[in-house]
Symmetry: C2
Subunit: 293 residues, 2 copies
C-alpha cells in the first residue's frame, strides 16, 4: 500500500482545501456556510474523489478539474450523511467522532445545509472548466440518477422500508447498490467521462464500480461488528442492537467475509480487462475491503 | 383577464400531466414516487411555469420543451414547500387544503421526497431535448444559484434568523428576494435563455422578475391578513399570531399595498422596454398583485 499512502497524502489535502475554497465562494448567510462547511470539514476517507482521481491516473489523463469534480461528489456524499443522521432518520448524535450537524446547528439548519450542498454540487459541475458542455451534461444527468430517487435517495427509502422485516440477500444487495453503490460508481464513471474514455472502458469501470461498491458496504457491515466506536468515530454494534438487515446477519460473519472477497475478486477481474498492471485502483480496492474505519 | 384565463386553462393541465408523466418515468421505490407525486399533484397556482411560458409567448418563441422545463421548476418549488413545512421548520399541517407531506408519509420520507425532487429536477434539465448543451449548462448553473444557498435556501435561513428580531424593510426585502424571488426570477430568465434572447432582453426580464417577485411576496403577506383559511388552503393570520416580520407589520397594511403597487409599476415599466403591447406577462403580473390565494 505504499502507492496508496503517498497518493492519499498527496490528494486528500487538495480535496479538503478545494472544499473549503468552494464554500468560501458562496454568497450566503454566514451560519449556513458554517453549517455546510462543518460537515464537509469533518474528515472522512474521501474515498469517492480518490476513486475518481485513481481512474484518471489509470487512464493516464491529467485533468485540471479532477479535484473540483471530486469535491462536488464529496458534497453530495456529505449532504446525504447530514440528512441520514437527522432525528427522523437514523437519529445519530456522532459522525466521524464529531457531533452530527443537527446536534450543532439544529434540525432546520441541518436540513437546509444538506439542501444547499446538494444544489451547489450541480452548480459546481455546471461551472467546471476544460470540460466540454456535452460532457458536463452527461455528468449532471448521471449524477442526478445516481444520487436521486433512482439511486442513493431510493436506496435510503428501501433501507427504511426493510427495517421492520427480514429481507433476502438479493433485496439487501438492491438496497446497497442504490444507497452506497450508486454514488461510488458515479465517481468511477465520472473519471471515465472527463477522460473521454471509450465505451468498453466505461462498461468495465461500471462493472468495477458495482462490485467494489458492494464490497465497500459489506465491509461497513463487518466493521459494525468487529470495529470499535473509537476507530469508527460512530457507535459500533448499532446494527446488531437495532436488528438491522446486514450481510453478517443474513450470511453469518464468515459468509459476509466470503461475499466481500468474491466481489473484490470480480472487481479486480474487471480491471484486468483494461489494465494489466496493478495500480492505484487495485490498491484502493484492497483498502476498501481491509479498512478498519 | 380573458387572455390569462384561457392561457391558464390551456397550460396548467399540460403542466400537471407532464409532472405526473415525469414522475412515472422514475425507477424508484413506489412509496417514494407516491410521496413525490403527492405534493406535486396537490395543486397550486403553477405560477412559475406559467411565467416561463408567458415569456416565451412574448418573445414569440414556441419551444417544445417549455412545459417540461416549467415542470422541473415546479419540482424545485414543491421540494422547498415540503421541507419548509417540516416540524423543525414551519411545522405546518396543511398546505393547499391538504395534509402536508410529512403528515401523510412521515418526516423521513418527506425529507427524502424533497431530496428526490430537487435531484430529479436537475436530471430533467440535463435531458431537455432541442436545447443546446451550452444553454442547458446555463440553465443548470442559474438554477443552482437561484435555488441554493445563494438564493432560495439562503433566503429561508435569513427568514429563520429574522424570527426572533425585528428587521428593517431592506432586510425583509433581502429575505424575500432570495426566498421567493430567486426561483420566480429564474423561471422568467429561463424563458429568455431557451428563446436565445439577447442580453438586453435578459436584463430587462431579470428586472421584471425582481419587482414582480417582491410584489408577489407582499401580496402573500397581505393575504395572511385579508385572506381566509378556506381560500388560502392554509392557516390565515399565522404571520400576525407568530409576530412574523412582514410588509404590513413593518409598513402598515396601506403601506404594504403602496409598496406592492410600486413594485408592480416598476415591473410593467421594465416590460415596456421590450414589448409595447400589453400581453400575457402583464396579465400575470396583474394577477400576482390581485390574487386572493
Amino acid at each position: 500500500m505504499i502507492l496508496l499512502q503517498s497518493f492519499t497524502e498527496q490528494h486528500v489535502p487538495k480535496i479538503e482545501a478545494r472544499l473549503t475554497e468552494l464554500i468560501q465562494t458562496i454568497e450566503a448567510p454566514a451560519i449556513l456556510k458554517e453549517a455546510m462547511d462543518y460537515s464537509l470539514a469533518a474528515g472522512g476517507k474521501r474515498i469517492r474523489p480518490l476513486f475518481l482521481i485513481a481512474v484518471l491516473e489509470m487512464l493516464e489523463v491529467e485533468h485540471p478539474e479532477a479535484i473540483t469534480l471530486g469535491s462536488a461528489i464529496e458534497m453530495i456524499h456529505t449532504y446525504s450523511l447530514i440528512h441520514d443522521d437527522l432525528p427522523s432518520m437514523d437519529n445519530d448524535d456522532y459522525r466521524r467522532g464529531q457531533l452530527t450537524n443537527h446536534k450543532v446547528f439544529g434540525e432546520a439548519l441541518a436540513i437546509l445545509a444538506g439542501d444547499g450542498l446538494l444544489t451547489f454540487s450541480f452548480g459546481v459541475l455546471s461551472r467546471l472548466k476544460d470540460v466540454p458542455a456535452e460532457q458536463k451534461i452527461e455528468l449532471i444527468q448521471l449524477l442526478s440518477e445516481s444520487a436521486g430517487a433512482e439511486g442513493m435517495v431510493g436506496g435510503q427509502v428501501l433501507d427504511m422500508e426493510s427495517e421492520s422485516k427480514t429481507v433476502s440477500v438479493e433485496e439487501l444487495e438492491l438496497i446497497h447498490v442504490n444507497k452506497t453503490g450508486a454514488l461510488l460508481s458515479f465517481s468511477i464513471e465520472a473519471g471515465a467521462i472527463i477522460a473521454s474514455a471509450n465505451q468498453q472502458t466505461r462498461t468495465v469501470l461500471k462493472d468495477f464500480g458495482y462490485h467494489i461498491g458492494l464490497a465497500f458496504q459489506i465491509q461497513d457491515d463487518i466493521l459494525d461488528i468487529e470495529g470499535t466506536s473509537a476507530t469508527l468515530g460512530k457507535t459500533a454494534g448499532k446494527d446488531v442492537a437495532s436488528e438491522k438487515n446486514t450481510y453478517p446477519a443474513l450470511l453469518t460473519l464468515d459468509g459476509a467475509k466470503n461475499k466481500k472477497e468474491w466481489h473484490y475478486n470480480k472487481a479486480i477481474e474487471s480491471l484486468r480487462q483494461i489494465s494489466s498492471e496493478p495500480g492505484l485502483l487495485d490498491e484502493l480496492a484492497a483498502y476498501i475491503i481491509k479498512r478498519n474505519k
